[in-house]
Amino acid sequence: MTSIAGLPRVEHLPYDIARIRRDFPILKREVASGAQLVYLDNAATSQRPVQVLAEITRFYRDHNANIHRGVHTLSVEATELYEQARAKVARFIGASDPREIIFTRNTTEAINLVAHSWARKFLKAGDEVVVSEIEHHSNIVPWQMLRDERGIVLKYIPMLPDGTLDLDAVQSIITERTRLVAITAMSNALGTIVPLDVIVARAKAVGALVLVDGAQSVPHMPVDVQALDVDFLAFSGHKMLAPFGIGVLWGRMALLESMDPFMGGGDMILTVSMEQSTWADVPAKFEAGTPNVGDAVALGAAVDYLSALGMDEVRRHEREITDYALRRLADVPGVSIFGVPDAEHRGGVVSFELEGVHPHDIGQVLDTKGVAIRTGHHCAQPVMLALNVPATARASFYIYNTTAEVDALASGLEEVGRFFGVRK
């Protein structure tokens, strides 16, 4: 097992946006209309730099083999690369032990794994799981399914009209019966940054565990599991420069050891007889079947890329862009922005509506200008319900976005307004 100490150091690079953009050739692409792409759908998935794509190709062209303890050179190399990626991810989120990193397909599988392997084992009817009203469906539906199957009680920390959580309610909603608080660090629909410390403090006070949905925080800001003092962290590679198909569950070693396996199959066993099987140790216990070795290795490269920039710098850049976007869009006739008004308390996500124009139409018209935004419920229907809108339009930023791209969005919106006859 590769140790964190054994990893090569990552060289720090200055934050040079022109250089960064050159690493993403897709940004030079034109869409059907002939307009150049302005990619503002990063909360759905990020783009991938050439370094990550090169790593995928390099892995398959030079080292590809199955890692199941093969004795031949390729298998040994592939195993080393896979375990090195695990160590890189551990270092990236401040985990002390690479074995605490479980590779999953995505955030969704990571959360389902906890619902299956921890909650099904340790929770009984009447035990409470607390989530919030601003969760992504992936952090709601697994708990609803568990509720329906096992009779646990599912409670929500309410959202205030500005998209923040009702922190006063936290004290009364998290109770002595609460066994788990499963909470997002950042809302994908509104960009709200959740003050985890308040929630963790209350959870600790009642002896509940804390699972953080880091799908939107790990890609965009420094995250340190020791400093957060939480128990589980789930996130997806595809939102942080890595390929689709690879995600992470981090958990405290003692917890992971206490849990049941999730799926059964090759590689998660110690012994199998026709009568009975015994389980392998963590993390293998949770990685049944042939893992996604290639994409895990590529996630290691993605993490290196982000580390070279520095997550503080990533956050600084996004805060600047978001601040600019909040001000720029406020000037567009008919636009109203949902959520907290300042970039200090939100990630690089700006959800908005344009008076008299359905989000779907906004997205469609912007697309002809090359501007790619997301429209819909963003897998957060409870948020839509609370805002009393069927859907919103959402622009979301990442390391390569520029203020010029925000301008393109704003002037595109002005044209949408004209096209659909929004009064000035």
């Binding site: 059907a32 209309s33 002939g34 307009a35 124009v357 359905h358 989000p359 779907h360 139409d361 469609q364 018209v365 002809t368 200008k369 429209t375 819909g376 419920h377 229907q381 839509m384 809108v389 069927p390 859907a391 096209f419 659909f420 006859g421």
Partner: protein, 155 residues
Amino acid sequence: MAESGLLEDLYREIILDHYRQPRNRNATIEPTCSADGANPLCGDQVRVDVALVDGVIEAISFSGQGCSISQASASMMTEYVKGRTVAEALQGVDAFQQMMLTGEAPDLEGFDDIASLVGVAKFAARVKCASLGWKTLAQALAEGGGTVTTDDGSR
């Protein structure tokens, strides 16, 4: 501009007209059958109420919310089927679905406005919006009414 051409392909003037001034929207009728339709992934919702007399659609109303395409298409649908028999209406539904599939407007009497929606066929993500009103009408006319959705599990 290239992009404007594309846009106007989708959003023909007649469509915007129906969107801004929908026909038979929230009309007061005494329905003999109704159905609800939803495209939950866009947030589109529509309800279709039909007053059938002797197999003829005497009156029709739609309500709900959605994008311009779904609203305009529902509006045109109501205009088209009003006064027609159930069989003719269902033929219209078929013709519409066919148009979305093939990207070719059918040669059908009274379909001229509707044919302006032919451009939608090029926009896979919007076909569901355009079809919602029509599918909901078919559901209303079918035994029992009920709820339809245009999310077929594909993406």
